[in-house]
């Protein structure tokens, strides 16, 4: 393939956390060195960007103007990209995206189904601009909305516009943003605060982190507009300390915005002051809850309190506070620029705009995606996500993080919006979406989520502190094969009690994964308690490993690899696993050469094997 003759090239290198983990920072360095050495610095520019979202294929390198999308680039590939693509004008075809589903090879970014089926509003700049250069953001029309808000709009007009747009909180609860701003604006007490919730604690979720890393100015601009609308000059961003890159880029962005008079005193000469302080969370999931988050900013233990009063009346330091999620703020400049009517035209009747999901688990295309509200789960999982990995069968999709629910295949045609997911026993949540195949045990997974919430429980209210451990005990019993049918009823009972009586959102939603799992996968629960089987072959107490006598070649690999010396055997002898000693770590299964495939993993059955090692071929 011949490239067009073109003088100027820009090479975009993704520097989101995913790609940096795969050493993309070294690629940037190597590219810069190579270009310098080849004397191309004048016409070829290297630009770092935030997350492209397609983390599975990282590190990602895009060459403009053609929009060629190179995947899984290594430091060693840099010389070839510079020489072949730039100098010889021949694309490096071996680095093109290879669609695992259709086997197609796709050279252009815009043609890749993962991207072409998305509708990227919140992620509009992610992967396209350098998050560490404010000029990049300004070139996309950045801060025009803030200017418009300050110079052309009244406080109430802004709130009315947000209200009319139908924007709802992207943190998960879906509270109407305009209504929240209105209440904060009307509150009499001073000072007031604008707070951004970037305490993205859900395991398996990285939406907020990616937005902060890739487009921090969109969040800062949204917060400044909120500050102007409700009438305050003080903003806080509460961001996880586990996100060092997001913190770094936020710091740079705030400093640059101040230099340009887009933040700080007398913004754009208007007399409006607004400043933002970054507060790093210290690793407590419960701090995603509004009142806990505010206590944490104040330097206290992050324990939720009884509401009302809501935080718009008495929030940070007891003052009126408007708390919104990262993605909510990132949506605000778009609405001010393009108008509420435009925003209303996207989405469903009750849920306007788009939803961002971190699509992970057993899915072909892992990454960050954005779709209009009203898209179906099937479209997300199969059209964008490419379906389940390696030809396995889809089993469930989990939305809403550890407090969400597991939905089965029959729910795949549900539309994605706040109401329909809640009705189905899950929830929108902040945007985690984990796909499971038939190798995932739904009982084990429910226990995993409940364990997470139990560990993160602050311990203030009894239902959460005492109820969740009781539920976990029952689930341990079930996964050990010691449960009966009453235990399932008991779980449903306890779960409902906790849901109705816990103090905060963490507690009231913690039983969701268990309740939805029993609702949709009761067969699998019954297999554990009645047949003492784990159909997905996960629960250790219910599975066994055997060496198959007719397949074992007596090579000794499993014997040497077994960490607990549970395998006996010898040269040309059929090996035997001591079931008493076996810890079910599956090392033997992984180490046994594929040509023999002599290890069997079974549940609820015993395979007849010799008690002692016997010569191969013994009948």
């Amino acid at each position: 393939m011949e490239a067009k003759l073109n003088g100027e090239y820009t090479i975009l290198v993704c520097q989101g956390t995913g790609c940096v983990s795969s050493k993309s920072d070294r690629i940037t360095q190597a590219l810069e060195n190579h270009i310098k050495q080849s004397g191309l610095s004048k016409n070829v520019h290297v630009k770092l960007t935030g997350c492209h979202g397609f983390c599975q294929q990282g590190p990602i390198v895009i060459v403009e103007p053609e929009g060629i999308f190179y995947t899984q680039v290594k430091e060693e590939d840099v010389a070839e990209i510079v020489q072949s693509h730039i100098v010889d004008r021949k694309y490096v075809e071996r680095l093109f995206y290879h669609n695992p589903v259709t086997d197609e090879v796709i050279p252009l970014y815009k043609d890749i189904p993962f991207y072409s089926r998305q509708h990227r509003l919140i992620l509009r700049n992610c992967g396209h601009i350098n998050p560490e250069q404010i000029d990049d953001y300004l070139a996309t029309g950045g801060y025009a909305a803030l200017k418009k808000a300050i110079s052309e709009m009244e406080h109430t007009q802004i709130i009315e516009e947000i209200n009319r747009s139908g924007l709802r909180g992207r943190g998960g609860a879906g509270f109407p943003t305009g209504k929240k701003w209105d209440e904060a604006h009307k509150a009499k007490e001073q000072p007031k605060y604008v707070v951004c919730n970037a305490d993205e604690g859900d395991p398996g979720a990285f939406m907020d982190r990616s937005v902060l890393e890739a487009d921090p100015h969109s969040v800062i601009e949204g917060m400044a507009i909120a500050g102007y609308a409700i009438g305050t000059s003080e903003g806080y961003i509460y961001v996880r300390a586990e996100y060092p890159l997001a913190v770094k880029r936020l710091r740079i962005a705030i400093a640059q915005a101040k230099e340009r008079k887009l933040l700080g005193k007398n913004i754009m000469g208007s007399g409006f002051n607004f400043d933002i302080e970054i507060m790093q969370g210290a690793g407590a999931f419960v701090c995603g809850e509004g009142s806990a988050l505010m206590y944490s900013i104040e330097g206290k233990r992050g324990m939720p309190r009884v509401r009302p009063p809501r935080s718009v009346a008495a929030g940070l330091w007891g003052k009126p506070t408007s708390l919104n999620n990262v993605k909510t703020y990132a949506s605000v400049p778009l609405i001010i620029n393009r108008g509420a009517d435009w925003y209303r035209s996207i989405g469903t009747e009750g849920s306007k705009g788009t939803a961002v999901f971190a699509l992970t688990g057993k899915i072909a295309n892992s990454g960050l995606i954005e779709v209009p509200m009203g898209a179906t789960l099937r479209e997300v999982v199969f059209d964008i996500g490419g379906g389940v990995q390696e030809g396995k069968k889809f089993k469930a999709v989990q939305t809403g993080g550890p407090s969400g629910g597991c939905l089965p295949e029959s729910a795949l045609d549900l539309t994605i919006d706040f109401e329909s997911l809640t009705k189905a026993g899950s929830m929108m949540g902040s945007g985690g979406m984990v796909v499971m195949d038939t190798d995932t045990c739904m009982v084990d997974l429910a226990r995993f989520f409940l364990n997470f919430c139990c560990n993160e429980s602050c311990g203030k209210c009894v239902p959460c502190r005492e109820g969740l451990p009781l539920m976990i005990d029952i689930m341990h019993k079930i996964t050990r094969g010691e449960g009966d049918l009453h235990d399932i009823d008991h779980l449903l009972d306890l779960g409902e009690t906790v849901t109705k009586s816990a103090l905060c959102g963490l507690g009231t939603t913690a039983p969701n994964p268990v309740l939805s799992s029993i609702r949709y996968f009761r067969d699998e629960w019954e297999a554990h308690v009645i047949d003492k089987k784990c159909p997905a072959l996960v629960c250790k107490a219910l599975i066994n490993f055997y060496v198959l006598p007719d397949k074992c070649a007596g090579c000794g690999i499993c014997l040497r690899a077994c960490p607990v010396e549970a395998i006996s055997g010898g040269k040309r002898l059929v090996h035997v696993i001591d079931q008493e000693k076996c810890i079910k770590c599956a090392t033997c299964l992984e180490k046994c050469p594929e040509r023999f495939s002599a290890i069997a993993k079974v549940t609820g059955e015993q395979i007849a094997v010799p008690k002692e090692p016997v010569p191969i071929g013994t009948p």
Binding site: V20, D202, G204, A205, A282, A358, T360, F449
Partner: protein, 161 residues
């Protein structure tokens, strides 16, 4: 408290004076410097923040980020997030516990390695993942674990000699 520690503490805490929010940023600064929270440092933080040492300890013990014991030279964090869990993170953790001969939350007696689990490091597309100090390793299998740690041990030997 030794004069040396007092001097170090002053350097860490002076920039925070006058801020509305002191306690948690101070704990974070101290932990970043020392790798954990020494008791004497927590007392000093309490003095600066104007609260009693048990309030400082109460806050420190609430948050997962803070430790009151030192970490190893190589600090290993194993992700136990959802994406990692469904891709076998539990077995990765077991393999590491066997390779290092310590359990999660422990440090080897020679202070060479410490091991902890985290709820999510946010590199879900690379699941299952772990981090050794600042380096992230992804798409792991139990077979990779042994190789990874013997490679780290070799690197350590070369850098020591």
């Amino acid at each position: 408290m030794s004069t040396d520690l007092r001097k170090q503490m002053r350097e860490l805490l002076d920039p925070l004076q006058g801020h509305k929010v002191i306690l948690i940023p101070a704990l974070q600064a101290v932990q970043e410097k020392f790798g954990y929270l020494p008791e004497a440092a927590m007392e000093e933080i309490g003095r600066v923040a104007g609260v009693s040492p048990n309030v400082v300890y109460g806050v420190a013990s609430f948050y997962a980020q803070f430790r009151t014991t030192p970490v190893g030279k190589k600090h290993v964090t194993v992700c136990q997030g959802t994406a990692c869990h469904v891709r076998g993170a539990a077995r990765i953790l077991e393999a590491i516990e066997r390779a290092l001969d310590i359990k999660a939350g422990e440090t080897t007696p020679d202070l060479g390695y410490s091991l902890e689990t985290v709820a999510c490091i946010g590199a879900c597309a690379l699941a299952p993942t772990l981090r050794v100090n600042e380096d992230t390793h992804g798409k792991l299998t139990t077979n990779d674990i042994e190789k990874l740690f013997s490679k780290i041990a070799r690197q350590e030997e070369t850098s020591d000699s």
